[in-house]
């Protein structure tokens, strides 16, 4: 009886102000799409980091002949300098560095020749044009700075380079996009709260007669307020479901079916990730509706 009554009331309320309900649905849809996009962008960034940071290394370039760097005044790095560096890496940086690999000029030339068998931009290079380096794989790629601090300025070291730097612009762009989405989401969420508040207030006012009688005959506060609360929550959840649907379509057609086909060496977000974000979005929708209705209803239908 109770349930059926509440359901009827809710349906009546939804029918009574259809246009407001639709606007609540749309605003939550758009705002939660932004929230979801921000979350998916973050997921994408994390995936890329996971994938790529495994591959990247820190290169410690050793002094070649004729370098102008102050640490290379003595000319090409000597065996002693290289041994000294290796000792430093094995002791001082033992916790940070997972693997050390010395790439000699010969190794570098071999790799180069394999990559450019016909010479580089028209010139045939020799082994002496190559530069020896230590390739360090770090336990945590984010700790590049520690390595740089320890090794930069040592005798025989020309420069310490972090391969991660290549990816930085991409990550920066993705992070900014995700921030932008989050910012827009914030604005839209505010709009959603205000709209839900207004909708519930209108609904409560249009049913003041009913709620007045309910209070008089002793209906409990929850019972009086539940239909309004559900009305807001239903509209918001429908918006959230639409947002999940939109993101799902977006990821499926834009990422999985298109990006993945054209640039396939990158790990992309999948529709599975969208489903992981879905509970978050629906949770936000419910929270929005409940908070705005409780605030409004306490003002308009209190016993």
């Amino acid at each position: 009886m109770r349930l059926q009554f509440v359901v009827t009331e809710v349906l009546q309320g939804l029918r009574r102000n259809v246009s407001m309900v639709i606007s609540v649905v749309l605003v939550t849809f758009v705002s939660l799409t932004f929230v979801g996009s921000a979350a998916l962008l973050q997921t994408q960034v994390d995936k890329l980091k996971d994938d790529w940071y495994d591959l990247v290394e820190v290169s410690v370039f050793l002094c070649p002949n004729g370098s102008t760097a102050p640490t290379c005044a003595a000319g090409e790095a000597t065996e002693e300098q290289i041994d000294a560096l290796r000792t430093v890496i094995d002791t001082e940086l033992a916790d940070v560095v997972a693997q050390t690999y010395l790439e000699t000029k010969a190794d570098a030339f071999a790799a180069f020749s394999e990559r450019y068998p016909d010479g580089y931009q028209g010139t045939q290079l020799t082994e002496d044009d190559m530069q020896a380096s230590f390739r360090l794989k770090l336990v945590d790629p984010e700790q590049y700075q520690v390595v740089a601090d320890v090794l930069t300025g040592r005798e025989g070291v020309e420069v310490v380079e972090d391969q991660r730097a290549i990816f930085q612009p991409l990550f920066l762009a993705l992070n900014r996009a995700s921030l932008l989405a989050a910012g827009l989401a914030g604005v839209m969420l505010l709009a959603a709260v205000l709209l839900i508040t207004t909708t519930i207030r209108l609904s409560a006012m249009s049913r003041r007669r009913e709620t007045g009688i309910m209070r008089l005959v002793g209906a409990s506060n929850l019972f009086v307020q539940l239909p309004f609360l559900l009305e807001g929550a239903i509209a918001a959840v429908v918006g959230a479901v639409l947002a999940v649907g939109g993101l799902w379509l977006g990821v499926k057609y834009f990422v999985t079916d298109w990006l993945q086909q054209s640039v396939n060496w990158v790990a992309y977000v999948t529709v599975g990730d969208v489903l992981l974000v879905a509970p978050l979005l629906i949770g936000i929708a419910v929270a929005l509706a409940v908070v705005s209705s409780v605030v409004t209803l306490n003002r308009y239908t209190r016993v």
């Binding site: 009886m1 109770r2 009554f5 009913e210 309910m214 005959v217 002793g218 209906a219 409990s220």
Partner: protein
Amino acid sequence: MIRFENVEKVYARGARPALDGVTVDVARGEFVFLVGASGSGKSTFLRLVLREERPTAGRVYVAGRDLSTISSWKVPSLRRSIGVVFQDFRLLPNKTVYENVAFALQVIGRPRHVIKTTVPEVLEMVGLDGKEKRRPHELSGGEQQRVAIARAFVNRPQILLADEPTGNLDPTTSLGIMRLLDRINRTGTTVVMATHDDEIVNEMRKRVVELKTGTVVRDEAVGSYGERESILPTIGGTPVLDAPGRNQPAIRVTPEPADLEAERAAEEAAERAAAEHAGPLVPVPAEPPVRTRRAAAAARRYPADDVVQQVLAENSRARAGREG
């Protein structure tokens, strides 16, 4: 049942107290008229009983509960033991008579089978049998007030509050409403009624509490309306108002036929109830067997309501006695 102890009520924007040191004790089953000029605090009194307002000083006890300390989540349960009727009926225009009455039970979570039996019963009692499907705008004022009373009484409250229930009705129709309230009072329900209707107060010969600018200036066990008493000749009326328009036929407005019909229907319901309880004592009019079964079933299911039936029976016996 209701006790006011030195109650003072000053509204937030009120210049003077709406009630000022009011001490009144209403016993269980009493019928009390609240009279007094406009603004004397009658409605405020009723709102305090309902705990729509809280006293600024003093204590209000209703049905054994101290309303000055009751927590707000207990207020609904308090209100379930109080029925209220207003001058403007306050019916829901888009619901039928039946739905209006059922609404009061639905919103307090009564199960469907209870509603199905209780609502027709109470509609029959107020004389609206057969009009269940009408909407409020298809009813006369008197009938609308009957619906409102049915809604207030359907949960069998211990207390019925009425704020000028006859304020919008012609004298004859008012009398019908008063008869109904009297009947309800005889089921053991405490009735407190605020009114400006001197005729009714004088005829009913009930307890009268008069308020004047928020203080009790008179409290008589068998009172009359007051100031206008000298103007109106004393009526040797009966406590039971069973003869509509008997004393002042000349000044009666012609009542709505529908109201009279409702009145008759209520009477018949009372008679039928009487027939079932008193058996051979009262001549039983021929009646459709369906109805008997329903009433009998209702009586079986709600032994507590026997008191209602008994009163209805008593009422019609008295009438039969007078007529016969």
